[in-house]
Each structure stands twice: as structure tokens, then as C-alpha cells.
Amino acid sequence: MSLYADIEKNLGSFKLKVKIEVENETLALLGASGCGKSLSLKCIAGIERPDRGKIVVDGRTLFDSEKGIDLTPQKRRTGLMFQNYALFPNMTVLQNIQAGAKREKDPEKRKSCISAVMDSFGLSELSNHLPYQLSGGQQQRVALARILVSEPDILLLDEPFSALDSHLRFRLERELHQVIQDFGKTVVLVSHDRDEVFRLSDKIAIIKDGQVDRFGLKDEVFRQPGTVNGAILTGCKNISRIEKIDDRRIRALDWGIDLETDQDPKEARSVGIRMHDIRLGDGGRNSFVCRVADVIENPFSYTAMLLPEQAEAASLIGWELEKELWHSVEGEKVSVTLPPESLLLLTE
């Protein structure tokens, strides 16, 4: 299975122009709210109609504006799950799942499909419950079961965990991971949570203002987010504008320090460094003595807010480190290193 989608939609002040291509793998659309990631899913599912473009799932054209192809959502076989799970409130768990199996015409086959999925999702005992009687996690299971009995060619998951309490998320994320593995076909996942995205997906597309900012394997995207937006979405909190000095050196304007890089900054306009990538100073390249402006205690770490000593007016750099390490270096001043290989060179 594979997905090819190249879609454009103009909504007045907002323009969606997204192109993605994935094989049998999980793609995460990562972006802030209102960036067009959910809209892209709706276009693939046929709920929204793109102005122009083409959507192909496993060689089957679902939409092609040039050829005038526009399959109904019913014919697309795109299992779309919403963040509220959209269970039919007037139907029991069993009836909800039966509704998903209507495509299968053979009653015997249908029955066995339904009971198989009820078993595998552990829903047999809940079959006569109404959706409002279920916990958030159970609702998600029913929603997934209902989609899977409809035998979709592709799974589209819109913010699957946003309706859940945080203590449930981890367990359900594992469950969903298993479902995705068993499904074995293309899955597109929409989320704004970088941890969730990293754990569940193979590839990531970072979306901003209706456009794909960065598209690639998840490791690459996290290592080289490419843009300021990408860096922020992948969780980088230290970002500074830069001026290029030469092909191995930059001036970080917001931090008031010069940094060495291990590659040519080229068109980069900003630099970022993740809070946990900062190391204790070793006096070597990119080492700086900093004043400690503030210390924030997290459950399992500290975040020290640092001001490079040589800088005049500068914004703070956050350094996240283990509690023990912090206790050993704690003081008014500390020396840190911003390893050149950890610097993210960013455009925009």
C-alpha cells in the first residue's frame, strides 16, 4: 500500500498546498493548530474537496482534478478516526461495530469479522454498552475496531490522544502502536505532540501555514528540522537569530556569542540547540562561561537558564541536566559547551 497526495485548496485567507508520498509506513503530520494538517486528512478522506490535485492510494485514484475523478468518501476506503472518536451515541458498542461492517455482504463472513475484532479489542463484555458509558480508552478501542472491520486501505488518525487524560495516553499509545503494526499498511497520523509523533511514526511532515515545511524520516527531521518552525515543533526551545561570519562560524545575535559550526551555515538565518544537548563546559570549542539567571526544578531534572558572561543584553539559554550533575556544578556561574554537531542550522 502507498499514498500519494498532492492537493491544493484555497480558503480565502488560508491556502493549503500539500504534497506527500509514503509507502507502507506511518506518516505523521506535525504542526500547530490551524496549520492545515486536519484539513489534509479530510481532503484525503473525501470530506473536503481540494480545488486542484491528485490523491492515489495503492494505485487507485481517489481524486484527480484533471481527470475529473472524485470518489465519494464511502468508496475511498480511508478509515478516518477523529479526536472525539465520533461513536454513534444512539448505538451500542456492538451496533457501532456492526455499522462498520456493512460493506461485507456475506452475513456469515460479516459475523465472524465482527466477533474477531470484538475479541481482539477486548470489547466482548462491553458489547451492550452505549458510548457514553465507556471510558476514553474504551471509546478509542471501539472507534478503531469499527474502522478496521470496514477494511480500509489506509488509516487516517486525527489527534488520536487529545481527548484523553495524560495517564491513559501512554498505555493507549502502546495499544495504537500495536494496531498500526498489525494493520501493516499506510497510516497517516495528525498530531502536535512531538513525543507521540516520534514514537509512532516512520516519517514526519512538518506543516506550517498549509505547506509542508520539512518532510523526511523521523530521525532526520529531528536531527535537522530545517526551519525555525520545524525546530519549535520538534521541541527545540533555544533559538537565536544569526549572522554568518564565515563558512564555519556564526554569530548568535540573541545570545551574544560566536559559535563554531561543523558545516557551512549557507542560507541559515537562525540557530537552535536542544536544552538537553548542551554539555558541561570543557574549555574547548563553543565553551562559554555563563551566569545562572534562574533554575527551574523539574520532576527528574533541572533547567538552568543561562546568560553568556561576555554578552551584554541577551536572551537566556535553557540547559536541561540531571539533578545529580546540577548539584555537582551548582553556582553563580557555570561553564557550558554548545557542541557544534548539536547545533541546528535553520532557515527563516
Binding site: K42, A45, G46, I47, T72, P73, Q74, R76, R77, T78, G79, L80, M81, F82, N84, Y85, A86, F88, P89, N90, A99, G100, K102, R103, L130, Y132, Q133, L134, S135, G136, G137, Q139, A143, R146, I147, S150, P152, L156, A163, L164, D165, L168
Partner: protein, 228 residues
Amino acid sequence: MDWFPLLNSLRIAGISTVIIFFLGIFAAYYIAKAPRMIKGLLDVILTLPLVLPPTVVGYLLLRVLGPKRIIGAWFLSAFGIKLTMTWWSAIFATTVVIFPLMYRTARGAFESFDETLAWSAKSIGLSNTYIFWRIRMPYCRQGILAGTVLAFARALGEYGATSMIAGYTPGKTATISTTVYQLWRTNDDALAFKWVMVNLAISFVVLLAVNMLEKKSGRGLRKGKAGV
């Protein structure tokens, strides 16, 4: 006591409620989807009978259905049927008058519908007809039920337009409301009072039924999204 007015009122109200149930729902469903300009215009036109005096509605109906007017004359020549002054003429009047009640409550109910239910249903292959009758309607049933009963109650009490288009002929076109007026006019206070009591009893039972239905069907179904 001749019970004809009760029977006549009930059948007129019953038939027009059935008509308006479908008409109102489909108008509400399709107009809710229409472009904004058209929606605004149709909304005004379709709600008009609610605010017009019933006599004005009656007048306008007579202008088109009267035996010498466009539709009325055509029916008379084509089928030999006179559209006014029969018991079922009143159905035209009640239908027009109660339409906005059904249309507006149904539209309000449809607008509160969670569209993600319909989208999810489509994505798992359910037909639009199935979605409408098995998901959308049950979800909106409280509003639709309320609209239907209100429409029925209003139809039962319709006087102005009915008296103009169907008149008052005892045993033929008399309804409860026209009978009460007639009895009062002829100083038959005792009988008028009896009919008033009948009317009160029916209205009371109808509204009681709505309340009980709402309590029974409304339990739980739409509580919170993800009760953890």
C-alpha cells in the same frame, strides 16, 4: 354533544403534521447546506407564516386556491374539485401556518449535530440515507420531536386561516376552534365551555406526553464526550 368538531380537528391536525414532518425536515436539512445568501432568503420566506396574522395567510391562500384563482380554477376545470370550503381545505391552512415551527426547530436540531459522526460514518462506507435516518435523526430526535408536537398542537388550535378557507359548516368543516367561536357568538355558553375544556384537555395531554418522552429518551445519550 356532537363530537364531529373533535374528529375533524384531530384529522386535520394529524394529516398536516405528517406532511409537515417530512417537508419541514427536508427543508431544514437542505437549506442548512445551502450557500449563505440563498439560506438567508429562504429562511425569511419560510418563516414568514409564523409572524403573519393567520387571516393574512388565509387571504393569500384564497388568492391562489379560490375557485376563480390560478390553482383553484385549474383544479376545478381539470378534476372538478373545489379546493375551498371542504373539511380538507383546512389542511392547506394549517400546513402553511405550522410549517415554520417544524422547519425552525428541525434546523436548530440539525445545526447542533456533530458532523464528525456523519464524516466517520461515510468513511466506513455507510450510505447517506443510512446516516440520515439512523444517525442524524436519532441524534436530533429531541428537537424534531418537540417541533412535531408543537406543530400538532398549533395545528389543532388554528383558527384564522382555517375559518377563511374552510369556513364553518356544522358537521362538515367545523373544527373545535371554529365551533367555540360560533357557540360563543350564538350565546351557547355552556356548550362553548365544554369545547374549551376538551381543547384544554387535549393540549394538556399532548404537552405532558412531550415531557415524558423527552425524559425517557434523553437519558444519558448525549452526556460528555469521553467520560474517563
